[in-house]
């Protein structure tokens, strides 16, 4: 019974518990009446260090718990090595055991107090009442931690959204966009009539189809402009002769992000949407995807890709940053945004190379390689150059003679890239370094030495050279080379083990007591999100990827491939991908904020600056990194 005094509607202790709850999710978004229901039905239990709170033997879970003070540790017995491992930790304000309670089953994990701990709990009845009455509570319980992750994503988006306005998410499938009824014509229609039809319908493009409505070409106002300006022919020319053939097509199931990336890569503003039989069903334009003119990924990529001077490229860098802000606002997740940045960086690198070839062609066929984060397509705005050249030695020339021609060229390119904002690599991992401007044969030798003589120094470089990609020039030479490298690593168990040991050097920044472990080199009380947060994932995933013959360099794609190959459990991989992406998202948000404040970009953040929810997410993400490292330890018996 609750005896309320009349001057206050609720007893002091009830109010105090409501106040405590309000500071934590999901309670922070629940109504007062529901919080009061919780508080009035709550009981408070104490557990001394190591006391068991919940165990699988107790049968179906009867209570919903919130940690009021202290910590709870989840313990699972590992059948393989007989050891007990900590699977999770729950701290102040966190709830448990959601899955077991909702599933009306016993918990699968032993819950034990870590230190003196008080828990608030409500019985099953009160839990069910709240579940049926409170939407935020129900969402939280049914979706568990993933709804928390969503909240973080939502916050990241709404922060950027404030300056942009709202829009569709980039995850939206194309079929959900109001597809314009495509304006079509046959290839024999004169350009004059085709343009008239576009004008009548107030569209910027017309699709040329065959008799079965398969798109065979596209003609846009830009094409018309070029045609007139370059006097390509009279306006009576059949449109089929001046159209762009084989327009880019996507099916209606593809999402907006895919469409945007394709447009950015090919510098097109329109693409055709087709059904499974390749019949034209619609057209999507850049404007449709980004209803606001300010988000102009495609336009920006085109401007970069056609810039005629270095200084234009330099000035476009600030647009890239603005675009990233807008992308976050449009619901792009961190994986999407780093790909966008990488795409734009690639376009910039390509353009710098093209401009220099135009000015002073070294006359040697070569592939421009990028390593490290750019190789993994995981670049953010703060990025170093890590590049190299893989060349074909023309007949009658020695490799050194080729280098004589290529190195001065590479030096200019490296310098100009630096002007565009790609910091010169302090370790001289750049194409202008004679040791990294090699023929296919030399690169192969280089990797043989790298793998066989795995010195500690080599292992440090593994994070750079084993994540590589071709940005410019033919891809085949690199594919040949990488195929050989992978085969060698797959056969070399010792190298794998050394790589694994090296990957363990980067520990997630958590102490034994689940507090943050601060970066040793940064400002006081800061965490290095890149070296301490992301690197443990990147490094561990690389070891598994190389050992399993995965060719992708991107960390998220590597994990997908590892699931496909059966090396990773599907659920584990999802948790790791989510954790990795969240750390990346926080890092990017921090970068954007630093840009807003005109501060130099850095990867350090003070966890105290985060709100409790983000702090909790960050901690959980780091814990996932620990779990991934545990897998590495078990696999390689470290």
């Amino acid at each position: 019974m609750v005896a309320a005094s009349t001057d206050t509607p609720r007893p002091q202790n009830t109010r105090a518990i409501m106040m405590f709850l309000r500071e934590h999710a999901p309670f922070s978004s629940m109504d007062d009446a529901h919080l009061a229901h919780f508080a009035e039905h709550a009981s408070l239990r104490f557990y001394a260090d190591n006391d068991i709170v919940l165990s699988p033997e107790e049968g179906p879970v009867q209570r919903f718990y919130v940690v009021k003070q202290g910590r709870i540790r989840g313990e699972r017995h590992n059948e393989k090595d007989g050891k007990t491992e900590t699977t999770f930790e729950i701290t102040q304000g966190e709830c448990f055991p959601l899955a077991a309670l909702v599933g009306e089953r016993p918990t699968r994990t032993l819950h034990r107090a870590a230190g003196d701990t008080f828990c608030l709990s409500i019985e099953h009845d009160a839990f069910v009442t709240l579940l049926s009455e409170s939407d935020p509570f129900r969402d939280f319980c049914l979706r568990g931690v993933s709804s928390l992750l969503d909240q973080v994503n939502q916050r990241i988006q709404s922060g950027a959204m404030a300056s942009i306005g709202s829009s569709n998410s980039l995850d939206t499938p194309l079929e959900r966009y109001a597809l314009r009824n495509p304006i079509v014509c046959s290839p024999d229609l004169p350009v004059r009539k085709a343009v008239a039809r576009m004008h009548e319908n107030n569209v910027g493009s017309i699709i040329i189809t065959d008799d079965e409505r398969h798109p065979t070409g596209i003609f846009t106002l830009r094409d018309l402009r070029t045609m007139v300006a370059e006097e390509k022919g009279p306006l009576d020319t059949p449109v089929g002769q001046v159209m762009t053939r084989k327009p880019i097509c996507l099916t209606a199931h593809a999402d907006a992000f895919e469409a945007a990336m394709l447009m950015a890569e090919h510098h097109f503003a329109h693409l055709c949407v087709v059904d499974d039989e390749h019949h034209l069903i619609g057209v999507v334009s850049e404007r449709d995807l980004f209803s606001l003119q300010r988000v102009d990924l495609v336009n920006l990529a085109r401007t970069i890709g056609t810039a005629s001077h270095l200084r234009t490229l330099v000035s476009l860098r600030s647009d890239v940053s603005r675009l990233v802000d807008a992308m976050l606002a449009h619901g792009a997740d961190s994986g999407q945004v780093v790909k966008i940045i990488t795409t734009l960086n690639d376009v910039t690198v390509r353009r710098v190379l093209e401009l220099n070839i135009k000015k002073n062609d070294p006359g040697i066929p070569f592939t421009w390689l990028t390593f490290g984060s750019e190789g993994r397509q995981e670049q953010t705005l703060l990025t170093d150059q890590d590049n190299g050249i893989l060349f074909e030695t023309p007949e009658g020339m020695t490799e050194d003679q080729v280098r004589e021609k290529l190195l001065p060229f590479a030096e200019i390119v490296n310098r100009e890239l630096a002007e565009c904002g790609f910091t010169l690599c302090k370790g001289n991992i750049m194409a202008s370094n004679p040791k990294l401007c090699l023929s296919g044969r030399e690169w192969d030798d280089w990797f043989i030495r790298f793998i066989d003589a795995s010195t500690p120094q080599n292992l440090v470089y593994s994070s750079i050279f084993l994540d590589m990609r071709a940005v410019f020039g033919p891809r085949e030479p690199l594919e040949d080379l990488y195929g050989k490298v992978l085969t060698r690593i797959q056969k070399n168990a010792l190298f794998q083990k050394m790589l694994a040991g090296n990957a363990m050097n980067r520990r997630p920044p958590l102490t034994m007591f689940r507090n943050f472990r601060y970066a040793p080199d940064g400002k006081k009380h800061t965490i290095d999100l890149k070296r301490q947060g992301l690197a443990p994932f990147v490094e561990a995933v690389r070891v598994f990827a190389l050992a399993n013959g995965v060719e992708e360099a991107n960390t998220l794609e590597r994990m997908d491939q590892l699931v496909a190959k059966g090396a990773f459990d599907h659920k584990d991989a999802n948790a790791w991908k989510e954790a990795y992406s969240l750390i990346q998202a926080m890092r990017m948000r921090a970068h954007q904020e630093m840009l807003d404040r005109n501060e130099p970009l850095s990867n350090y953040i003070d966890p105290d600056d985060l709100n409790p929810l983000d702090r909790r997410i960050l901690r959980e993400s780091f814990r996932q990194a620990q779990r991934l490292q545990q897998k590495l330890e078990v696999t390689y018996q470290l």
């Binding site: 609750v2 005896a3 005094s5 001057d7 202790n13 009446a33 009981s43 003196d116 009442t129």
Partner: protein, 242 residues
């Protein structure tokens, strides 16, 4: 059909209001619950009352009780639905001195409850279960005096001093002092509103949970065993004095 919390709350409020209205004059002072003694009741099952009083001053002779806060521990669990949080109606009292400490102003006092009604209600709610308090001698003296003066009630309840219980179970602990705040700080407890009777009672109850958990691990399983542990502790304390 499940009832919504809003609906349930409303029902509860009505119920409390009705009960309050009906309690005046319908309590039977001759059939109040009998106080229990500390016997074989198991700590893992029994109900204990943890109580804190706010008074107009420190002297039972001249000062008066103005607020009563209490929570019940049942089977080593604090059920927040089973608590007591009342301000007594004492408009005639001069509380200008202590109002600064506990924050109950004359206005709140006039809106409080009829003392007799509140005390009868308290006795029924306590149901004769043992009463724990921090520095219990203080609360015991005030409560006994108030009960005697208002109701002519003079039965002896079992009292346990939490200020004694804690050092008895944690003998080597350095808390830097013997007050409630010292122990609360030592165990990192957050007291929601210090010097609010109910909040202090909850903090005391939390400390009691910690102490009972330890006592059970030391082999104490019944109330009488707990009493003898406290007697032993008192004897040690007295010996140390010489």
């Amino acid at each position: 059909m499940m009832k919504g919390p809003g609906e349930m709350l409303e029902q509860m409020r009505q119920w409390v209001t009705q009960r309050r209205a009906s309690t005046i004059g319908t309590h039977d002072p001759n059939h109040l619950p009998t106080p229990q003694i500390a016997g074989d009741q198991k700590l893992s099952e029994c109900r204990l009352i943890v109580l804190d009083l706010e008074t107009t001053g420190l002297h039972p002779g001249k000062d008066q009780v103005i607020a009563i806060g209490a929570v019940a521990i049942t089977g080593q669990v604090i059920h927040l639905g089973d608590q007591f949080d009342l301000i007594l109606r004492r408009p005639e009292l001069d509380i200008s001195e202590t109002v600064l400490i506990h924050g109950i102003g004359p206005e709140a006092l006039t809106q409080g409850h009829e003392t007799e009604d509140a005390l009868l209600y308290l006795l029924e709610w306590m149901d004769g279960d043992p009463i724990l308090a921090y520095h219990s001698a203080f609360d015991q003296r005030f409560l006994e005096k108030t009960l005697r003066q208002s109701l002519g009630y003079s039965q002896n309840h079992t009292w346990i001093d939490v200020a004694e219980l804690l050092p008895a179970v944690f003998p080597d602990t350095k808390t830097g002092g013997r007050g409630l705040d010292n122990w609360a700080d030592f165990f990192n407890l957050e007291v929601s509103e210090r010097h609010h009777a109910a909040a202090d009672a909850l903090a005391t109850a939390e400390l009691t949970l910690i102490a009972l958990n330890k006592a059970q691990k030391d082999g104490v399983s019944t109330l009488s065993e707990l009493s003898s542990k406290l007697r032993y502790y008192r004897r040690l304390q007295n010996m140390n004095r010489f």
